[in-house]
Amino acid sequence: MTADVGTQLRKGVVEYCVLGALAREPMYGWQLSETLIARGLIASIGTLYPMLSRLRSQGFVSTFDEASDAGPVRKYYRLTDAGTGELASFRQQWAPFVSAVEDFIREERHVD
C-alpha cells in the first residue's frame, strides 16, 4: 500500500491540474510539461501527451497553432467550455474531499 502512494494520488488529480493550468492561460505542450514536472505532478512529457489526447477526445481541451516569437509554430492547448465545467465540478468536490481526508489522517494532539 505504501509502495507508490504519490503515483496513486497523482493519477487521480493530474488531469484536473492540467485543466486548472489551462484555465489560467493556453499553453503549449512543453510549457505545460515543464510546469507539471516542476511541481512533481508528472514524471516526463511522455505522461502529458496521452492525457492531452484524452482530454481533447473528451472535448475538455482544444488546440490551436500559433507562431512563437522565437520562430517555430507551436500547438497550444486551451480549455473548452466543457473543460471549464468539468474543472468547476471537480473544484466543488475537491475541498470537501481534502477536508474529509484531513479529518481521518490528522495526527491527534495530546494535551497534557
Binding site: 505542450g29 512529457i45 492525457m51 468539468e86
Partner: protein, 212 residues
Amino acid sequence: MSTDAQPQVVRSYLAGLEAALSDVPSEVSREIVAGITEELDGLDPATAAARIEALGDPVFIAAEARGGVAAPLPAPAPAASRPQDPRWYIVLAALMVAFGGIIIPFLGWFVGMALVWLSKSWRTWEKWVATVTPFVAVALSLGVQVVTNLAAAASSPERYAGASTSGFSSSNPLLPTGPLAIWNNLLLVVLVNVVVSIWLLWRALRRRNPLV
C-alpha cells in the same frame, strides 16, 4: 519529423523517440514527437542537448506514455453509459397512459403501456405497478359494490325478491351492472390512469440527471 536543419543530437534523439514509441497508440505517439520536435526546432546544438537532457530517455517517455494511455479519466457523462429516453418520450408515454384510452378507446391505453414497457426510464417493478393498478382498482371497486349490494339485499330482501322476475342481470346482487356501474368503473379507470401517469412522470423525471 526530422529535417537536415536539425543538429545531429536532435535527429538521433527524435529517431530514438519514434522507435521507443512504436507500440504506443499512433495518435499519442505523433503528438509526443510533434510536441518535442516543435520544442527542439531552431535550437543550437548546445541548447538542444540541454533540453534533451531535461527530457530524459526516450524509453522512459514511452513507458510513461503507455502507462498514461491505460489510466483514463472517468467518463465525462455517466449517463452516456445508460442511454436515457428523451424528455418528450417520457411525457408522451405518460400522457398516453392517462388519456390514450379516451382518445382511442381502450387501444390508446395499450399504446401507452407499450411505450412504458419499451422505455428505459422506468424500472420493471414500476412498469408492473402502472400496468396492474387500473385492474386492481376496478377489481376493488367491483368488490366494494358487491359487498354494498349484498348489504342492501340483506337489509331489504323483498326489493330484490320482487325484482327477480324482471331479469337475471339486474336482480343478482353479486353482479353490479347497469349503465351507472359501468360508467362509474370507466371513470375510475380514467382517474386511476391519470394518477398512475403522474406517478410515472414523477419517477422518470426525478431520476434524470439534471446535467444531461
